[in-house]
Amino acid sequence: MKRSRAVTILAAALVAAGAGALAPRALVAQWSRTYDQFYLQAPHNWEFRNRYVGADRLFNAFDYGHAILYETLWTKPSAPPAELEEKEYDYLTRTVLVRPPRVPLEEGAIEVRYAQLAPEAKAMFEWAHILHRQVYDVLADEGLSQPRKDAEIARLLAYYRSRPDLAFSSRPKSMKLMQEQPYSLAFRRKYPKFNGLIWAYHWMQVGLYEPLLVGADGDERQAGVRATVARFWQMLGDPPRSLPHQMPMTAAVAPRFAERYEEAAIVFDNLHSMHDVISDILANHDVPRDRKRAEILRAARLFRDDSSYVMPVAAWRAMARHMGVENMGGPAVGFLTALPTPTVTYGAVMTHDDRTGEMTGFRYGEATGGAHSAHDSSAATTPSDSASGGHEGHRAEPSAVPATDRDTTHAAHGARSAKPARAAGRAASPKRRPAARPTPPRAAPAPRPAARDTTGHHGHHP
């Protein structure tokens, strides 16, 4: 009797705790069964952490930035922009990034409410971040030959795909999915500085593969990683002007990596694209709060499937070129001393032909000069004041309404491609000849092979 009473009490307590005040339908909608999975066990585990301490710690700090962003957007919808643009931005760039955490963070302890809103999306990010980190480990492992590295990365990708409920599609997604949805652009418009910081994170997350890949030996890889990390700090020097103006595309920022590990590069672009999508959904007040979860889950499905908004790989590469690496923070290796001059206004939305990837116009923002001067939009209202960049001629009036209401896609174009800074990434557009890019006066001196990267920051603190 005692026993059955105790069991009944236990069961009742569980049900009461679980059901709460939720109606059955709401309960079903809230029932989530996603789960975490351990990273692939391998001898190269944590190799990057061991060899590149400073850069690895910065990635831990990036985790905090992503988490606090979503938590703030979700829990403080009425907060002034300064909450993120000043308070959190300053804390991130002056404290967290300067003294980054020792170990990867438990994001669920930072984005408490967001994690409860969309645990499925959180799990997708974590699964992709595991892939990110394990690829660094492979490329950082000095004991692996290049063919062995290739084989290990193929194994990592197979492991990643073994979770189809979490894995981003390995097929490139059109930028329409990211920036031409009803909720798109809300985040970058309201929080340009924080948005640029996230893009700088993404620049480094994909960019750091490049020095690991192109370095001929351990010393060169160390020096290259230090230089790329220093470049990241340089981007924080004068925000948002100095921050990337477009989402960094792996094929542009790290062309050698994207060439060799195409599938991984596509997954990372899709990952970073969905980061922006969730920011927009959370920041856009036109999406009611009780629809946010559904919209996030919808976007997550679209990023996982292999059929929605897909474009050919060649088009994905062309799109990255046409967006202009100078608008993404520049290449991750072989860059000049000065940051590249963007050739579009901050956060500009270019339209592209999904079959070829070629730019067709501007949906938001405009060109500020450069190789795209032949792209004239019918919405152009302001002549370019710069001839240094790659997007002169693409112009559309900056819009204050959702981008879907402002299609300038079919304006006249004399499309000339922006040319990537590194020859290694120069896969010519299938139809167009890459346009000439102003020749840089001189390249930055190559970093000296140095002691292991242990600091993560090199004199460019904001």
């Binding site: 236990l10 307590a13 709460g20 789960y35 170990v103 645990p119 799990a123 197979a158």
Partner: protein, 281 residues
């Protein structure tokens, strides 16, 4: 006379001390997760969260130590354990508690205090609904200091996270007819030791940038002793992520009521690895 009384007490407290050493295994799934954020029973408190180790994770408890003092008798224990995330949301675990008990008068006993086998299954991840889990455990008679009969139990777990803290609720029912007349027969142990049931609530506060948390619990349980009152105990501790693979924990507890009032301290470390083979596609 005094010496005789002490000898009697120490003999009586032997199973109590052993039980306390086994407690983390009996009361709930044993500590399994390397991640400092995923609290585990016995590391350092007995109440735990509703999440198992990650799928394909292998966690080795390499130094879970416990020092207990009850009625002037000290007991030490170490409980090597392996936990494996064998299925989605599910872990299996096996623990081998080893006990060392100072019986006084220069007498000591050391040995295996049973084998604990358990499984924990998480039902859902937390949304507006708390995370829920169920666990089943079996303490198998084995070793010179093990129990004299199988001791199965079922447990229900709920975790709710707030921005300021997480709250965990655990409730465990132990099967078996162990009701006895004389508390000495079971050593006058703590509420959550050889209890017929126990329930506890814990609150933890996380410091995410430091990968560190503080936690505290309050536990009630009814001993198997006939007519015994519900006993209360409390504990507090900390968990800390030393490296991506190693987590440390430490804590202390006090049995507030009952005939086995006393204190204990714990220290643990766990190493986390992955299954060495890749999954079938």
């Amino acid at each position: 006379m005094l010496h005789q009384a002490r000898a009697t007490t120490t003999r009586a407290l032997l199973p109590a001390a052993l039980s306390l050493l086994v407690l983390p295994a009996v009361a709930s799934r044993a500590a399994a997760q390397t991640d400092y954020y995923n609290t585990d029973a016995g590391r350092p408190i007995s109440v735990e969260d509703a999440y198992p180790v990650e799928r394909r994770a292998v966690e080795l408890q390499i130094a879970p130590l416990r020092l207990d003092r009850t009625g002037g008798v000290y007991g030490w224990g170490i409980e090597p354990e392996i936990a494996v995330g064998i299925l989605p949301r599910t872990q299996l675990e096996v623990a081998f508690p080893l006990a060392y008990v100072d019986l006084g008068a220069g007498r000591r006993r050391t040995g295996l205090a049973g084998v604990e086998v358990g499984a924990l299954h998480n039902l859902n991840v937390e949304t507006r609904i708390p995370a829920l889990a169920v666990a089943a455990e079996l303490l198998i008679p084995a070793g010179g200091l093990g129990p004299d009969e199988l001791r199965p139990s079922l447990k229900a777990i709920a975790t709710k996270t707030f921005p300021w803290a997480r709250v965990h609720v655990n409730g465990t029912y132990h099967f078996g007819d162990r009701s006895v007349d004389d508390p000495v027969d079971v050593g006058g142990h703590a509420a959550s030791d050889l209890a017929s049931w126990e329930a506890g609530v814990a609150v933890d506060r996380t410091f995410p940038l430091q990968s560190f948390l503080l936690t505290a619990e309050l536990v009630a349980g009814r001993p198997v002793v006939d007519g015994a009152e519900v006993e209360w105990s409390t504990a507090a501790g900390t968990r800390y992520q030393l490296s991506p693979r190693v987590a440390l924990d430490g804590g202390a507890g006090y049995r507030l009521t009952g005939i086995a009032e006393g204190w204990y301290v714990t220290f643990g470390a766990a190493l986390s690895l992955g299954l060495p083979w890749t999954p079938r596609r």
